[in-house]
């Protein structure tokens, strides 16, 4: 080892240069694939036509990435030179990156690369078949145009809908999951069996569950029949509701019950519609089991000695839950709330299958809107606009989860 180190100065130079060239080459290829040019078969007819498109529209993009690639390549080359003389370090370095290579290449291409592309495109007018056209912040302004022009309120309404969705679904599913987990954590027989049965809805595809629920929600379906029979016994006359087709909002229903009225120009006071709440219910049904399992694992992780100590000190069950269980569950609760928020703000499957965003756009969601805008379902293809919507949604998700972490971690320091 010592001998090798003495003549090490020149030893690592050639591998360092190879590493530098390799890294820059791979990053530039990935950048080329994700360069903001027109898409489609015409431009991809040959490498030559593609390169001429890149030259025409994507030079600033390529320049920025190439500079970043050179900086990154430089750092890696320096590392290579440093580790090369030492056999063990060299082996670890090379094996490490060789083992990470599949992950790095796929992620750089299909996550980092595409996000850079989307970021660039969100400042452009882009419909995949023509060259992107720089329009600055127009797409972002357009997203919030609904504040002044009520015909363009789709995105605002979508945000409004998912915020209601998260506000109702996240607390309900978290509380239900905790209740079910504590129930299963008690000494019961056939625990495994119940756990398996409870978890079954979470295993099944959301498409399957949504289809079954659409059927149960039909006007001549089981839910109406069930409510009619049960309410019939108590003497209440129940008229069947088309659950997934009813746009009346929760607050609207309450106001109307007192003889009031909310005009459609003030849609934002109407609250979540019946259709939307029906989808919420179905979503809770599928997600509760997953979170229940997480809570159950956390409960089983709690050291039983803590409970013994508490009972020796004469604490009753309620106290034990408050003072021992709840604080210890805080990290998992935070995780469940954050995961729930991320999931609920991105609802898509249920909306696509059950309502297509209707009735009266009361179940429209940002991801569904992004999907339809990007594919031009209701008009021209507007991929730049859709990308801008995706970034706004991501910013909202980050902000909300960050806030939740701040609020929920408050006061846990003492434990």
């Amino acid at each position: 080892m010592e001998n090798k180190k003495t003549n090490s100065n020149q030893q690592g130079t050639v591998p360092a240069i190879i590493a530098f060239v390799g890294v820059v080459f791979i990053i530039v290829v990935i950048a080329l694939l994700n360069a903001p040019t027109m898409g489609g078969a015409r431009v991809m007819a040959s490498v030559k036509t593609y390169f001429s498109e890149v030259r025409a529209t994507a030079m600033p993009f390529m320049a920025v990435i190439t500079i970043l690639a050179i900086i990154g390549g430089f750092f890696i080359a320096r590392e290579v030179k440093k580790v090369w003389p030492d056999e063990r370090k060299r082996k670890e370095f090379l094996t490490g990156y060789a083992f990470l290579a599949p992950y790095l290449i796929v992620t750089l291409t299909f996550t980092v690369g595409v996000i850079l592309f989307a970021l660039y495109i969100s400042f452009n007018k882009y419909d995949i078949f023509t060259r992107p056209e720089w329009i600055g912040l127009d797409n972002y302004k357009e997203a919030f145009a609904g504040f002044t022009d009520s015909t363009k309120r789709d995105f605002l309404q979508a945000l409004y809908n998912v915020l209601w969705y998260a506000a109702i679904v996240v607390p309900v599913q978290t509380i239900l999951a905790l209740r079910m987990a504590t129930l299963l954590n008690a000494p019961v027989k056939f625990k495994q069996f119940f756990r398996t049965v409870f978890y079954a809805p979470s295993v099944t595809s959301s498409v399957v569950i949504t289809l079954i629920f659409i059927w149960l929600y039909l006007k001549n379906g089981y839910l109406n029949f069930f409510l009619q029979s049960v309410l019939g016994w108590v003497g209440i006359d129940f008229t069947p509701i088309a659950w997934l087709g009813d746009p009346r909002g929760l607050i609207q229903l309450i106001v109307e019950a007192f003889g009031g009225e909310i005009p459609s120009s003030q849609w934002y006071f109407r609250g979540p519609s019946i259709a939307w709440m029906a989808i919420m219910f179905q979503n809770i049904f599928t997600t509760v089991p997953t979170f229940m399992i997480m809570y159950l694992a956390a409960l089983q992780d709690i050291n039983p000695a803590l409970y013994e100590a508490a009972s020796i000190e004469g604490a009753n069950k309620r106290d034990v839950f408050k003072k021992v269980t709840r604080p210890l569950l805080k990290p998992i609760t935070m995780m469940i709330v954050v995961l729930g928020t991320i999931g609920t703000l991105q609802v898509f499957d249920q909306v696509y299958l059950a309502t297509s965003g209707g009735p009266l756009k009361t179940s429209l969601t940002p991801v569904y809107l992004i999907f339809t805008e990007a594919l031009g379902v209701n008009g021209p293809i507007t991929m730049g606009y859709a990308s801008a919507l995706a970034f706004i949604l991501a910013a909202i998700i980050f902000a909300l989860t960050f806030l939740q972490r701040r609020i929920l971690t408050k006061g846990t320091e003492m434990y």
């Binding site: 992950y103 399992i293 694992a297």
Partner: protein, 299 residues
Amino acid sequence: MTVTTKDNITPIKVKSHSQAVTENVIKAFFRYLLLIAIGLIMLLPFIMAFLGTVKTDQEILSYPPKFLPEVWRWDNWARVWNTDLGAGGTFPRWLFNTAFLSVTVAVAQAAFGSMAAFAFSRLKFAGRDAVFNFMLATMMIPGAVTLIPAYVLMTKLQLINSFWSLILPGLVSAGSIFTLTSFFRSIPVDLEEAAIIDGATYMQIFRTVILPLAKPAILTVLILQFQSMWNSFMQPLLYLNTPDKYVLNVALSIFQQQYKSQWNLTLVGAMFNAIPVLILFFIFSRYYIEGVAYAGIKG
């Protein structure tokens, strides 16, 4: 609460004991009642849907609906199995497509994931922690952001309507690497140190020491990734657009439009989709549940 005379103590104790017993019995009774009720609620939609599959076209639409079918029409299942949307869109085909994609992605994730996890948990090299933190950061990125640009990239690579459009991005995932890394870190290093002294290469250590010990974690990743590909909907809907390439979920969404009021047939499709995953789940439920629980605790 201080009791002074002996005579008083005995009756009180006996009473409180028997009270406690009856209380416990009542509590246990309600606990099981609640467990069974929740279990029924969880299974009821599946039971209803299953009974719906064997009803006739008229029966499924009648109101008030009946719980049990009058005649069990098993031929509904055959009708759906023999569906032909043309252009190669048949049921066995969709089942094969879904299974093929799910197995491929699951195996790739287990293989590449354990390689990456080995690098993260066992090797020391410059940039390792930076890459690991970068991976954690990518887990926070909402899927909505990559949806459109990934579609554009697939059109450029001319992979639209090809299974590669789902396989390539699915080869690795931060989630499975993270699970495997946490597991690998819990394996003691003593064994490897002996192997290193014996002159084993890292590849040999990976294959002969780590992989055999990590079998449960790898099985968990295999199962969870199989399920997640089987159940994925948005990406296949976006990328696969001819009937011979559909996966079950996409075909099902077409069914719903095609069969309109023939809910018995749509429900058969739903059952065909759900049954394989449910069987897999009942066989491997321990690994499923451990995987989910693990993700919760370690995350």
